[in-house]
Symmetry: C2
Subunit: 487 residues, 2 copies
């Protein structure tokens, strides 16, 4: 007889009934090959002795096993594993044998993401110079909670809990239309607007709709890596265009356009990632003109519009585009909180409808509750109040951060004061190894990246984005002190 | 001179400063061609008269216009639209001319979703027999709010607002691992588990990773349309396998496998959509055996596991699969609230890692706040309490609903009492036109579908899923009365 006493492990404090646990134990023994078709099961009396369970519990388990089609009762002989079951496994393999049985062997697929790293843990709560994230301590969570409470009481029939719409909440689409018109002269109606989960989803949806394998897309020599990864994943060919202090070099682009077809151009007109330069108005207008002439789409990723410190930001290309070549992508995640994911895509109604269909295939819809709450925060002005308040604080932080860089890092870090955004693009002297710096800083309690995220096949700048927004003034002083000490 | 008085519209109650509004008005006039390069702008004095604005406001607007690169000041002559601006538009077109300038002309793309409908409005609050949705009036929103409040106070450094992880919250992954092991003998550790936004996202991610264009996937003759749409969208060829009262016909599948390569098989083992049949254990085991032999993946969409009324549900194929051919997909959205989107995918660690990378490209991560709240609800037992409570209520509703169908619709509707799920698969007598029925019912205040969602190229059943779960007993009686009255 099998060593049932050790094979059958029951949890008496579980919310799962004991007879179900027992039944599942037997299923497991059958499916892993310990019990084979036609094997006899122990009698209820014997099992009562071995497990200490009530005999009725055991009977119930056997009945369940029979009704699920795993066993059969043979009169006067006992209960047997169903003889006609296909043998599922050989007798149990040893552990080392099982390890060789990898996924690649079970079915065929190829992993296109072997190189991509994903994060699995929250940042340790040590001092961190990040890539340019907001300070979530400033996020008005209380206001959000107030909206949640009020919505969860107010909505008739709890509509906000039902299936919603792939385009997003009607209220939020109206509120955002007004906000975009007020802040950036972008006159859209809700038909032009799809709520997304952030800029990333906007780029993904636009890329899927615009690009088919072997299409070409123009991007900066330096560029936001997560966008590059999407373009590559959908099979597009990346054409790298130089980026200087006025943004993407549109004359260079024009020369290429004369020679080959480009399906789309991806730009980050405010605070190009990673170098934070803003595209000049002249180049913006020329790009629009080229788009009309050569019939390509412009994916305008303007995630950083709301954080511009000195002058007013330029109005988006989308606001000047009367030919409708621009697909405008923005986000509220950087301005409210990265984990509360609301973004938007602006385009012509048919493109928006197609993007909504694709979004519906991917995940049906957004988080209705969050969308309704954000809609209220825009309508009652709290969202803009929060933007203005944090803008003021971030400007102070930027100034302090850059002052210290200027005074303590001269000759070591080359940088320009960014007009907006949450990070300073800092090119380190070639004598400094960033991976080593990152390691040494880590030892002293300062978390800082090694710069590899900003590199690509043609751009290896020995640079880092140094995020100032998520650090208060004390933390700025301390973290830059630590950084200085390891250079 | 242009009719500035009517061209310039300012909102005095807006939160946007008047000088910015004025500046944006001029930009708009320039970009739509009303003002052309080198045109002179009205003097500040004149504009003061026309608009009633303070002269300093107008000066500020002009300064802004100049600093943004739209205009230039010429000494003693005035302010002009920048001469070197590329002319962006011809003189403004008439409305009818502009309408011919459609998106297809602006850049080239093809819309693969022309046939797909998307919902844009909340259901009217009329009586609705839906497709099998939960009753959101039972959703314990108060408990969710309590968790939200407690999390928003508790978390050190507001980690839940920062960027999180594409695999989902660690806490929720642990809680779900325990829950899945307790309820369905599915022994997984968090490495095997990806949090998604619902079953839909699980199917999308798995399809993208498994299927490349022209690969074949086996699906039921009748099948969940939104899954079919994903498979088609990624370019796969659909092989239709018959489905009878024991689920998908695996012998039929075997015959096909002898002749051609199949990359994956998609099944809904509990309560097949739309017909609600449950796959027998014998077929489940045979399918696993075939998967091992022919090396294909099984996408097991078990979204309905938690709602099984009479017997216990079968344990999933994933729980018996020692060869790891199964990608198991489940969801909490049907059991909690459709708009609060949390689902999961179970697979081998490498597949989960790849799915997380893809998810990261699509939308970075899930809603951390919701994930943390659900984690607490699983841990403190409230989630299972809610499941048990609603299971009991839905069983009563199913019984009442089926009793009435039996007594009042005999000869008109052919159905079997479903063992689980939230809908009765009802085949109507051929003399009844469902589109007409839907129309007539609508006139009497009963919203009911026209059945087209369940049809496909080989399956045209004149059938409807009649959802009973979202209706209370009074509503069930009334809605079936209304339905009877229009037949």
């Amino acid at each position: 007889m099998l060593p049932y006493k050790s094979l059958i492990q029951l949890k008496r404090d579980s919310s799962v009934a004991l007879y179900i646990q027992l039944c599942n134990s037997f299923i497991n023994l059958i499916t892993n090959g310990t019990l084979q078709p036609s094997d006899v099961l122990p009698s209820t009396r014997l099992l009562t002795e071995l497990t200490g369970l009530n005999r009725n519990t055991i009977k119930l388990a056997y009945e369940e096993l029979i009704s699920q089609g795993w066993a059969e009762s043979v009169e006067r002989k006992g209960i047997f594993v169903l003889s006609k079951l296909p043998a599922l496994s050989e007798k149990k393999k040893t552990d080392s044998e099982q390890k060789t049985n990898t996924l690649e062997e079970a079915f065929s697929w190829t992993n296109p993401f072997k190189e991509i790293q994903i994060s699995e843990n929250y940042q340790q709560s040590v001092l961190t110079i990040d890539d340019g994230f907001p300070d979530v301590r400033l996020t008005p969570v209380d206001l959000l909670m107030r909206e949640y409470r009020s919505i969860s009481r107010k909505f008739y029939g709890k509509n906000f809990l039902k299936y919603g719409f792939p385009k997003g909440s009607e209220n939020l689409r109206s509120a955002l239309s007004r906000y975009l018109s007020d802040t950036r002269g972008l006159v859209v109606n809700p038909d032009n607007l799809l709520i997304t989960k952030g800029s990333q989803m906007g780029i993904y949806l636009a890329s899927r709709l615009l690009l088919t394998p072997s299409d070409s897309i123009a991007v900066g020599v330096s560029n936001y890596r997560s966008a590059d990864e999407i373009f590559r994943y959908v099979g597009a060919h990346l054409l790298r265009i130089p980026v200087d202090e006025h943004g993407m070099d549109i004359d260079f682009l024009e020369d290429i356009l004369k020679k080959q077809v480009i399906k789309a151009v991806y730009i980050i007109p405010h605070h190009h990632f990673p170098t934070t330069v803003t595209m000049s108005m002249e180049r913006r207008l020329k790009l629009l003109k080229l788009a009309k002439e050569y019939r390509f789409a412009i994916i305008e990723d303007d995630y950083d519009f709301d954080f511009h410190y000195d002058a007013k930001p330029y109005i988006p290309l989308a606001s000047i585009d009367h030919n409708r070549n621009v697909i405008y992508i923005g986000s509220v995640t950087k301005t409210f909180a990265p984990a509360l994911r609301i973004g938007f895509m602006i385009a012509q109604p048919e493109f928006v409808r197609a993007a909504a269909s694709l979004r519906q295939l991917i995940d049906k819809q957004g988080d209705s509750l969050l969308e309704e709450a954000f809609s209220s925060l825009f309508e009652n002005g709290e969202m803009e109040r929060h933007f203005r308040k944090s803008l003021k604080i971030y400007k102070q932080r930027r100034d302090l951060f850059c002052e210290i860089l200027q005074s303590d890092f001269s000759g070591v870090i080359d940088f320009k004061i960014p007009e907006g955004g949450m990070a300073v693009w800092s090119v380190f002297d070639q004598s400094i190894s960033l991976p080593k710096l990152s390691l040494e800083a880590g030892k002293k309690g300062l978390k800082i990246a090694d710069g590899s995220f900003y590199n690509n096949e043609v751009f290896i700048p020995n640079g880092l984005r140094l995020g100032f927004a998520s650090l208060n003034e004390t933390e700025i002083v301390k973290s830059l002190e630590l950084l200085r000490s390891v250079i």
